[in-house]
Symmetry: C2
Subunit: 206 residues, 2 copies
DNA sequence: ACTTAGTTTAATAGAGTTATTAAATTGGGT
DNA sequence: ACCCAATTTAATAACTCTATTAAACTAAGT
């Protein structure tokens, strides 16, 4: 038995790159095969359907984001520190995976079924719920203590996510428009990270 | 001469709806024809290529955004008022055209050529440049007067755009996840608008 | 040497895509 | 009544895409 061909993994690697770069629709199994260095039929031999192959990559990237949120700031009871940690690590993770935000949002928006699957995953995931409850408690207590202005937890969450995620969604446009090279992009991201933290912290004062 | 068929316009209307809803790739000229109530060949008779038809819609939606930014806050020299006006009218425009932000960003990100065309349009458009220069002057003067914290004009601009635009990009996910009906969505958007204004104004204080 | 399971390819069915062409239809102008 | 230009359709060329099938290949186990 000729086992454990390296092509199976090559296909997955090629698919990951192409799907992240161009999305589900704009990537054909022929493209994947060419990039992996095999016939198109082999892609289907190992993964049967394109959707199947895509699903694995999508789930993996989705988990990467979620798990990262969970592992950080577990028992932090200092809001400023929690926010700093969150934005900081979120920015760092996404800086190393810049296509992920647009990739996930695009595929979720453009596919009702994927959206339903995500929904199910979120509302049945005890970890996420617990995380949000703690987060909510922390904010409410800070408001009660008069340390920050009154604000709904969901609003604050969306503020933070908007500022972080949109940075990466708009990055291709920004770097193209201002002809930024890799080094300039890194500096830009660093600056944005600090501005986001500043805006949120200052914007929460009474 | 049988002139002025109503089908030419029906095709454009159908194309607009389908392109905005599903994007360029996921819309076929057959879909457009079916929705317009004519043969697929007629779509090509009037617009020759799918790209052509798309181009007109894309440009129109792009202009809608730009022109709207220009017409508002022309000679406002009160930063708080300028920001309030901007966020307010931006939110209102997008509330009536909710798919536009994602539509434009997706098609720009996924097509290098469109990105280049946008770039050319932006850097040769005297109106936009003038607008940005005035805006920059206003912010610098407010910083000099000590009314707000030091902040780069581009950073502030990106802060505002992030908060506004991401609201609409993530809206399909949000409304699906929390099963919002139309009325709840309107209330949500109203609340977001106020929160964005608050966050920006408070976040600019020293 | 030979079997056998896993790997890989060539070929192709079947559906869908854009775009073109030639023919048919329509209705106002003369 | 007829012309003629604009409109509309049917048919089809020339792709591309996913998925399957049958055949060929490879190497480990006996």
């Amino acid at each position: 038995m000729a086992k454990n061909s390296q092509l199976e993994e090559s296909i997955m690697k090629a698919a990951e790159e192409l799907f992240l770069q161009n999305g589900f629709d704009a990537t054909s199994t022929t493209d994947i095969a060419k990039s992996a260095g095999c016939t198109q039929a082999l892609v289907h031999y190992y993964y049967r359907t394109k959707e199947n192959l895509f699903q694995q990559i999508f789930t993996q990237k989705f988990q990467l984001l979620i798990s990262h949120i969970h592992e950080k700031n577990n028992q932090v009871n200092d809001l400023e520190l929690a926010l700093r940690n969150f934005v900081d690590s979120y920015f760092d993770t996404l800086s190393k995976n810049r296509q992920i935000p647009f990739f996930l949002i695009k595929e979720l928006i453009m596919n009702e079924e994927r959206r339903q699957r995500m929904r199910m995953r979120m509302i049945t995931d005890a970890g996420s719920l617990q995380y949000y409850t703690d987060w909510d408690k922390l904010i409410k207590s800070e408001i009660a203590k008069g340390n920050i202005r009154p604000i709904d937890t969901m609003d604050l969450t969306i503020d933070v996510v908007s500022l972080v995620v949109f940075t990466f969604i708009s990055l291709p446009l920004y770097s193209d428009l201002f002809e930024q090279n890799e080094e300039e992009i890194r500096a830009y991201l660093q600056r944005r990270k600090e501005e986001v933290i500043t805006l949120i912290l200052k914007g929460l004062r009474k």
